[in-house]
């Protein structure tokens, strides 16, 4: 991508603020939300960007007025977001923990109706209200919350710069493929500050939204009747099968991953989000002692980049799962590897170890110790 052409600015910013700025650059025009730590500054920064409601600022992309609504709860936020998307506006929300649970009411509807909602989830401690600080324990909820099959896109950014890049990308992915799309960060990423390069979206990258109700079909006097309640098992089964085949097709274009020094690696670390940043440092530390270690990092947790995963771990002797949860990411990877082996392609699963630290941060030193530990 010819980044040189972009008007770039470097700024010292907080992670949550980065997301709000990126959403504006992506052409988002409205936010619907309910404050919850550690996501609140996404909302507060967006409010600042909107300015005075009597004379609101305009979107730099669409020149429409920027707006927001502080809703009565997370269900209202999620469904108002759906309403805005139905009317053809790029809109988003941000939440965490117990708010994420309540908002799954709306996200499961968005999954059923193929509504391109964008939601920022800043993970806090798991098990109910828990802490307002940090964990990676909302992976399963964000990927599969609701009584559905997880036809969603979930980005897991690793750095402040990633927050910008993948917020920008989330809106385009959502509107291009029509899946509810999530930016799954965490309290550490949201609350930390650092240098971030901001840049506008290039015109050719911009996916133009159009109304789902009262849109182009209506202009031809065709009615759109969206439905998430069916009469017969066979009816909903055929919808799910259709979604499955759409999702399998679109996954090839959507799935992203990063393979870091994996080519000759005997040990592959697998981590996502901020933990992957620590794992990357650990890889460099270990490489300086000639240990053959690499990192495979899923950038999208849904859908997973299976071809890249297989090529990264295919020649390895062991893999080590590292996450701030009890295996919520590793279950996704294990499932993908088993599904891959079921396709009949020859594949030997390497030895598996794990470093699980639910609700705790993980340092590069701890990862190095885990790699060097004799099992």
């Amino acid at each position: 991508m010819p980044r040189a052409k972009r008007r770039e600015t470097k700024e010292f910013m907080q992670g949550n603020a980065v997301i709000a700025h990126a959403a504006r650059a992506a052409g988002a025009t409205s936010f619907y939300g309910y404050p919850i730590t550690p996501s609140t500054e996404v909302f507060e920064t967006w409010v600042q960007l909107c300015g005075n409601p009597h004379k609101p600022a305009l979107s730099p992309v669409t020149k429409e007025r920027l707006s927001y609504l502080q809703c009565e709860d997370e269900m209202a936020s999620g469904f108002a977001l759906i309403g805005a998307c139905l009317a053809g506006k790029k809109a988003f929300t941000a939440t965490a923990g117990p708010g994420n649970i309540l908002m799954q009411d709306a996200f499961s509807a968005a999954e059923a109706l193929r509504i391109p909602t964008v939601a920022v989830i800043m993970q806090r401690g798991g098990l109910s209200t828990s802490t307002v600080i940090y964990s990676q324990e909302e992976v399963t909820l964000t990927c599969f919350g609701g009584n559905g099959e997880g036809f969603r896109v979930v980005y897991s950014p690793s750095s402040l710069q990633d927050l910008y890049t993948y917020t920008l990308k989330s809106f385009n992915t959502a509107w291009k493929y029509r899946y509810p799309t999530f930016l799954l960060g965490d309290g550490y990423l949201g609350k930390m500050s650092g240098e971030v390069t901001r840049y506008p979206m290039l015109k050719r990258e911009y996916v133009t939204p159009e109304p789902i109700l009262l849109g182009p079909a209506r202009q031809k006097s065709l009615s759109t009747n969206l439905r998430n309640c069916y009469d017969q098992e066979e009816e909903i089964n055929s919808i799910i099968e259709q979604y499955r085949s759409d999702y399998a097709r679109d996954s090839k274009a959507i799935a992203e991953s990063e393979s870091y020094r994996t080519r000759d690696a005997h040990t592959i670390l697998i981590a996502h989000g901020i933990v992957a940043s620590a794992a990357k440092v650990a890889v460099d530390m270990l490489r300086s002692t000639s240990a053959r270690v690499g990192l495979w990092r899923p950038i999208t947790l849904r859908p997973l980049d299976v071809p890249s995963l297989v090529s990264a771990v295919g020649n390895a002797r062991r893999i080590i799962y590292i996450e701030s949860a009890l295996g919520q990411m590793s279950r996704l990877i294990n499932d993908a590897l088993i599904a891959y082996s079921e396709t009949g392609k020859s594949f030997d699963l390497p030895a598996v170890r794990s470093l699980y630290a639910p609700a705790l941060g993980i340092t590069p030193t701890e990862i190095v110790e885990q790699v060097l530990k004799k099992s």
């Binding site: 609504l69 009565e72 209202a76 936020s77 469904f79 309403g83 009747n225």
Partner: protein, 266 residues
Amino acid sequence: MKTSNKQQRNRKETAPRTASLPVPSFPRCYKESSKPHKFCPGCGHPITLHEIGMVVDELGIQNKTAFLIDIGCSLLAWDFFDIDTTQTHHGRTVPTAVGFKRAMPDATVIAYLGDGGGYAIGTQHLVHATLRNDPITVIIINNLTYAMTGGQMAPTTIEKQPPTTTAPFDRTPDVFGTNLKGPELVLHLAMPGAFVARTAVDNPLHVRMTIKEALLHQQKNKAFSFVEVLSFCPTNWKTNAQETFAWMGAFKETYPLFKTITGTNS
């Protein structure tokens, strides 16, 4: 099939007297392919929907109306009209309508739900849409019971009505508390200039006039409009036609019909 035979018979019978008049017909915005509809015989929903259709025709807003539907019996209206619709989740129709209207202010947005969606699982949304004076029209069908699930107690269930399955020995206030009156609640909360009304399906013309006023209010005054339609459910009330209308008359004592614009005469 039965319906159309009946219609033909009716037309034949009345043909000599109405020959010079236009034949009464279904609203033009009806979706023919979804008829006959799936509501039970004697239900109040199709009466209300018929009147909504007549108003949409009269105001010429078929191409600019978003009709959003809740869970419960209301969900059967998902393809009732040849207008743009979506189903939502139980109680979440009002916030969906709020988000839609904010994103497309020129559209006429109707949230159509039952008393469970409006007064139980979605009460908070009704309360806050009222407080914000959101320029949408909320239509709530009050049939004093949870009908789709088979006749359980609703927030609107009262003492002395056909029994519900979850309060089979009557809704006595000492055990179950009291009932919720939606329009009266809205009246207490609304900003000046909101349209609030209760109508009843035993007078379809009254339903039509009330809904017309509500939609015009949304368009012209850009303020909140709320209509409760007192309705009947012979299937769950287990009543014949005569009893159904008798109960309906009695319920109007608890749920009186009225119409007001807040801040003017309250």
